[in-house]
């Protein structure tokens, strides 16, 4: 072990971490394949570093003490009874011929058992692939990192039981939906859903991860997704959190962008009581392009914390981060974004735009765009503003006879437009709009204007 400064004083182990370790020790880890070794390293690393606390930079606003003060058991691999197909479960319209892959607490429910093939996307269970090709799985787990935003992903890496491996092999026009269902039989359950999306050079696809729940109990959802975009590939990826106020999510997304690849990523937090998302993008080949959109809706007492880090490590790479945060009630929304331009990444072009809108005096929005530049000839801009509805705009609309509720709703909707208009799946956009609007004040009024 190298002597990293923080390694000197190992933090006391939280009850949650002790339980994770016990779970790990109970597993059969005698194999010596690359995957088992990697998982073991992940466990050891998180044992050494501890779970993040508010003393860690990217967790400053999100206290997980209530979660780490007790142990967890794994949530069941199947849902009790049949999955109820409610409106909230149909994010994509039938007219768009989308296929849906169901994951219950991270366990894929694949038609015909093991493999499925869908219009240019090969779908394999991670458990199966781990047996047949552990080296491939290991290669697609995120590189182990000590960074505090990646700490829960290490737990996922060590402890995930199953997951999905999607290999995009063609130009797939219809979206694929991964429906993540959280369900539990009691308190203190945890799920570690794991998804790997591997897009071969020149391929394209749209993949929507949609988090919902079933039943009265729900586990802590510690999900992790890794996307590897091959050269010249084009991916549109959504993660939509649409669970109820009692749900808690920690989601880690890592993106690796190959030469001239494009990833359009949407992070949509419109559900859950606590949603913590991280996005780490590595633009490691020339011409890679990331468009990251975040739509963070704080509602009632919800806590939403989103951290995005884009690292430019090759020439002529481009990143756009567009975040819109709305907070009403007593909610709190945190958005931290960072762009890192490594030496040699000349002609990097990056923009960070974050706007927050406070709809109540008891809500709070914290934003912090950051830049770390270690290269010359780069173009990087960032901006962050947070405020209330513009009184001049409001007065203008009132002076035309609109009632206050309508005027306010139209302004809120307009505020979100920059993110919504970027979505290229019309039915997903429309479903997300529906869900968003339902949480805004005066939603009935607003619906008339769509």
């Amino acid at each position: 072990m190298t002597s990293a400064p923080h390694a000197a004083a190992a933090p006391p182990l939280s009850p949650a971490l002790r339980a994770f370790e016990a779970q790990w020790l109970a597993r059969d880890s005698t194999q010596s394949d690359p995957l088992t070794v990697l998982r073991q390293n992940a466990m050891q690393r998180v044992m050494r570093l501890g779970l993040p606390t508010t003393r860690d930079e990217t967790w400053r606003y999100t206290n997980l003490r209530h979660l780490t003060s007790h142990g967890f058991i794994d949530a069941p691999p199947s849902a009790p009874g049949l999955l109820q197909p409610t409106a909230s479960l149909s994010l994509v319209g039938v007219d768009e011929l989308a296929a849906t892959v169901l994951m219950v607490n991270g366990h894929p429910v694949l038609p015909g058992g093991i493999d499925a093939f869908f219009n240019g996307i090969e779908i394999t269970s991670l458990r199966d692939l781990s047996r047949t090709d552990p080296a491939l799985v290991a290669a697609h787990l995120e590189p182990l990192s000590d960074a505090d935003q990646a700490r829960w992903a290490l737990v996922n890496t060590a402890l995930f039981v199953d997951g999905l491996y999607l290999k995009v092999t063609g130009k797939v026009k219809t979206p694929l939906v991964i429906l993540h269902v959280s369900t539990a039989e009691g308190a203190n359950h945890i799920a570690h859903p794991r998804v790997i999306i591997d897009a071969v050079p020149g391929s394209s696809a749209t993949i929507i991860e949609h988090h919902v729940e079933q039943g009265t109990h729900r586990p802590l959802c510690n999900s992790a997704t890794h996307v590897a975009a091959g050269r010249d590939s084009k991916l549109e990826h959504y993660r939509v959190f649409a669970t109820s106020a009692g749900a808690e999510h920690i989601d880690s997304l890592t993106l690796r962008l190959g030469g001239n690849s494009l990833i359009k990523q949407f992070t949509i937090a419109l559900g859950g009581g606590l949603v913590r998302t991280s996005l780490e993008a590595d633009l490691c080949q020339p011409g890679a392009h990331l468009d990251a959109y975040s739509l963070l809706v704080g509602h009632e007492a919800r806590h939403v914390d989103c951290v995005n880090i884009a690292t430019h490590s090759a020439r002529e790479t481009r990143s756009r981060q567009t975040a819109r945060a709305i907070a009403s009630g007593t909610s709190r929304v945190v958005f931290n974004s960072k762009v890192i331009v490594n030496a040699g990444a000349a002609q990097t072009d990056s923009q960070q735009s974050c706007r927050g809108l406070l709809l109540s005096t008891t809500a709070e929005i914290d934003t912090r765009p950051q830049l770390e530049i270690r290269a010359d000839e780069v173009k990087c801009s960032h901006g962050a503003t947070t405020g209330r509805l513009d009184p001049d705009m409001l007065f203008y609309m009132l002076s035309r006879g609109l009632d206050r509720e309508t005027a306010q709703s139209l302004l809120v909707y307009a505020f979100l437009a920059d993110v919504l208009t970027g979505m290229s799946v019309p039915s997903a956009r429309s479903a997300i709009e529906d869900a968003l609007i339902a949480q805004l004040p005066d939603s009935q009024v607003l619906n008339k204007f769509r």
């Binding site: 009132l398 035309r400 609109l402 437009a417």
Partner: protein, 257 residues
């Protein structure tokens, strides 16, 4: 039918903005069928008067009264004043990206119709109406798909104000420096729009800095507002005199009086 009856009556109106007294006892009566011009030097309170009549909430009325068709105007929130038939053409129309021009206009028209007990406007009829008015104002069709005033030039914004006025057909239109920043062609278009609304049942109050507009829209009454008071009223010849002699003599005259 009501020609000549009182539409707006302002009595001794005093207004404070950000702790500063701006209007200090304004008196003005506007009857149906009339066009009034309110002129005056910069900072005289012209825009404050226009905004306070439209219902701007952060302007504090410290004295006096305003009635509109006999009703206490100051007791109504801005949106109800609009529905009752009062329209303000803004000096600086705000840009509202993401809110479509047509949405706003349709919502405005429907709010007014609803208040009058009428059904919502039919979508096709509305589009036909708006296209007809746009033609009059020589506005391009691209306007239909744009956000409210989004990316408009100064002249386009003013034309949009007049377009909204034509669609909403107010009883009283207060146009706050709608002529400023317009070239001669745009000034003619805007004037034509205002004149097309001229009607024995309606009235217009033009707030302006220059006499130029009054060559195209001929007022019945001209008032000089200075230092928060109306110092002098007259007919159109007063505007010409102001053009020739400036405002100083009016201020001198009122001091002597």
């Amino acid at each position: 039918m009501d020609k000549g009856t009182s539409l707006l009556k302002i009595t001794d109106l005093s207004v404070r903005v950000a702790g500063k007294d701006i209007l200090k006892g304004v008196n003005l009566e506007v009857r149906r069928g009339e066009i009034h011009a309110i002129m005056g030097p910069n900072g005289s309170g012209k825009s404050t008067l226009a905004q306070v009549l439209a219902g701007r909430a952060d302007y504090e009325v410290t004295g006096g009264s305003v009635t509109f068709e006999g009703q206490d105007l100051l007791a109504l929130p801005a949106e109800e004043r609009a529905r009752a038939g009062l329209f303000l053409g803004f000096q600086y129309p705000v840009e509202i990206p993401g809110v479509n021009n047509v949405y706003l206009l349709k919502a405005a028209l429907n709010a007014k119709r609803k208040a009058a007990g009428q059904p919502e406007v039919d979508a096709y009829e509305f589009l036909a109406l708006i296209k007809q008015k746009m033609k009059l104002m020589q506005m391009s069709e691209s306007f239909l798909s744009r956000g409210v005033n989004e990316g408009f030039s100064g002249g386009e914004k003013k034309r949009n104000e007049v377009l909204q006025m034509l669609v909403l057909e107010p009883k009283l239109a207060i146009l706050d420096e709608t002529d400023s920043g317009l070239d001669i062609d745009a000034l003619k278009i805007v004037s034509m729009g205002v004149n097309s609304l001229r009607d024995p049942n309606r009235a217009v109050v033009l707030v302006t800095h220059y006499q130029r507009l009054l060559g195209y829209i001929v007022p019945d009454h001209v008032h000089v507002l200075s230092g928060g008071r109306i110092l002098k009223s007259g007919d159109r010849s007063l505007a010409l005199e102001l053009e020739r002699r400036g405002y100083d003599w009016v201020q001198q005259e009122s001091k002597v009086a």
